[in-house]
Amino acid sequence: MSHLLEIQNLQVTFGGLDALSGLNFHVDEGEIVSVIGPNGAGKTTFFNTITGLVEPTGGDILFQGDSVLGLEPNEVTSLGIARTFQNVRLFPNMTILENVMVAQHCRTSQNVFGALFQTKAFKKEEEEIRQRAEEILGFFGSRLVGYRLDQAAFMLSYANRRRLEIARAMATQPRLMLLDEPVAGMNPSETAELTELIGRLRSEWGFTIVIIEHDMAVVKNVSDRVVVLDHGVPIASGSYEEVSTDPDVIEAYLGRPVESHS
């Protein structure tokens, strides 16, 4: 049985520093896997390598059995991998609706001629794009709908921006979603709500999800599996309970207890 995403011996070296070394990782269809680890462990680099923003110095990344090494980021997205950014990077001056509409670029095909001659196919596709965008935004309740659709993205509150990030990722119609610290900076109620939403992303929309997170409550509530990275190397993998009691993991976060001198 092949995994949806398989990382083999991934090696990323930046001028003498090993950001990732010997990373083996896999995700099966329908799973939600969390990647945790102290700061600087290489988690975002990991995402960057998968999506093609960073070129690994060794190893392979297989998506649906085929290697995605060396592909341009937009090619990776069209293959079915979507991601959100840690420091929310929306298109600030485009409206909310436009942000989600433009994310469907690789799933649509109309070009200059369709737009100029207003062909039936063009109009149909535009309508579909718009409807799909509204549907996706509706996933987040009443926050990102109605008059908000035509507001510029820079006017959104922080939590709504994070939600819009996820909406955009959804709009690329991926099979695999990579969420980079989706609840960072949110207050407890927003966090709780988003945790639930992540679950629904899998159950209602069928996405496979890999999350980078620091908030352990979220990790505990949402993950099927947890992988721990430290200094670019995986040091533990398993269920939340297994991983949270693993002595190597505790040492990575807290350090080794001082030997007591009696």
Partner: protein, 381 residues
């Protein structure tokens, strides 16, 4: 299985990557460019060996090849042109390194200095001092022009660029285009559209000398000497003084530099001033060497100087001067060395095209320039 084996096997799988049409097209362009240059050069070599060579005659039946003196002459003129590009390029490089935009108006700063030089020199010529006391006149003219160009550069920063410090990057560039226009046309309006001439150089300066079998006029020697002195001064400033260190810090990261207690505004003004001074030196020397200035004098050299800065590696001062020398030489040599053997008529017309072609080639083959860029993180695209 050992780790090494698995890695080798999978990295090869990279060739599955699709090559977009654009990349294939660019590949063809690169091959064509290299091909043309190589064939032209080889034909030139053939010409030199024997003008009746079939290879030499193939594209250019009238090929005669160049004599050793002619080649040396080309080299000298190329280097003396390149020196100007280099001096002006310093300003472009420094401003780009610190503020991250192309100061289009820098070429005009050079032109303003050339004009100041022309006015001052002619005044001295009118009352006879130019003839009698040339060295003193030269010194005064130089100082005056450098002062004017420095003030111009600082003023443009203060008026047009400082308010735009936090704007998206293209806005200062567009503004600098406007400033360039204003300077060009202000000079045009105030001093008239005609080409103005510098007074005659004293005989002892203008005459040809022979150094190491190279025939070179005294004024060109002066140009080289002044450039070397200026570059030394610049090097000393940037590498050995506190201000220079601050300049390098601001070029790396403005925010952190200000947190370290550096007055970033003052450093930026200094950067503009130093760049303006270098361009000022270039302006006077240019005027003395070529003896003619008009309001458009700064435009083309300005663009070529920027090309030189990119060729050498933007933000990199040594690179700027090297790029300038390289570009000047290329401009001088390429028409004779590459285009003429290829049978292209009227090659000197295309001299300007050479500079732009060099820019395109550098950006295609090695965008960070010959010696590498020195930019802050935020300015790297």
């Amino acid at each position: 299985m050992r780790k090494g084996e698995k890695v080798a096997a999978t990295v090869e799988g990279k060739s599955k990557r699709r090559t977009p049409l654009v990349d294939r097209f660019l590949f063809v362009v690169k091959v064509l460019l290299i091909g043309l240059v190589t064939i032209g050069f080889l034909a030139f070599i053939a010409q030199q060996i024997s003008p009746d060579n079939w290879f030499a005659k193939w594209r250019n039946p009238g090929a005669t090849g160049l004599s050793g003196d002619q080649i040396k002459g080309l080299v000298i003129s190329g280097l003396s042109q390149g020196v100007f590009y280099g001096l002006i390029a310093l300003g472009y490089s420094m401003v780009y390194g610190v503020l991250g935009f192309i100061n289009f108006a820098h070429g005009e700063v050079f032109m303003v200095s050339a004009y100041t030089g022309y006015i001052a020199a002619n005044k001295f010529a009118a009352n006879g001092m130019w003839e009698s006391n040339f060295a003193l006149c030269l010194l005064i003219v130089l100082l005056l022009s450098v002062m004017v160009s420095t003030v111009t550069a600082v003023l443009t920063e203060r008026i047009a660029y400082r308010p735009l410090r936090n704007s998206p990057r293209l806005i200062p560039l567009i503004t600098s285009i406007g400033v360039s226009f204003v300077l060009q046309n202000a000079v045009l309006g105030i001093f008239g559209p005609g080409t103005q001439g510098y007074p005659q150089l004293p005989e002892w300066l203008a005459k040809q000398r022979s150094i190491l079998t190279f025939e070179i006029s005294g004024i060109k020697i002066l140009v080289f000497l002044v450039t070397i002195v200026s570059m030394t001064g610049l090097w000393y400033l940037v590498e050995r003084t506190k201000t220079g260190k601050a300049m390098r810090a601001v070029a790396e990261d403005k925010e952190i530099a200000s947190l370290m207690g550096i007055n970033v505004n003052r450093i930026i003004v200094t950067t503009f001033a130093v760049g303006g001074a270098m361009a000022g030196v270039a302006g006077v020397m240019f005027g003395l060497l070529f003896r003619a200035v008009n309001p458009m004098t700064g435009f083309l050299p300005g663009i070529k100087a920027f090309t030189a800065a990119v060729v050498g590696g933007i933000g990199n001062l040594g690179g700027a001067m090297s790029g300038g020398l390289a570009l000047g030489s290329a401009e001088s040599i390429a028409p004779q060395l590459i285009l003429e053997p290829l049978g292209v008529p009227g090659v000197t017309q295309l001299k300007d095209a050479v500079a732009f072609t060099v820019l395109v080639m550098v950006l295609l083959f090695k965008p960070s320039g010959l010696f590498g860029e020195r930019l802050s993180q935020e300015d790297r695209a």
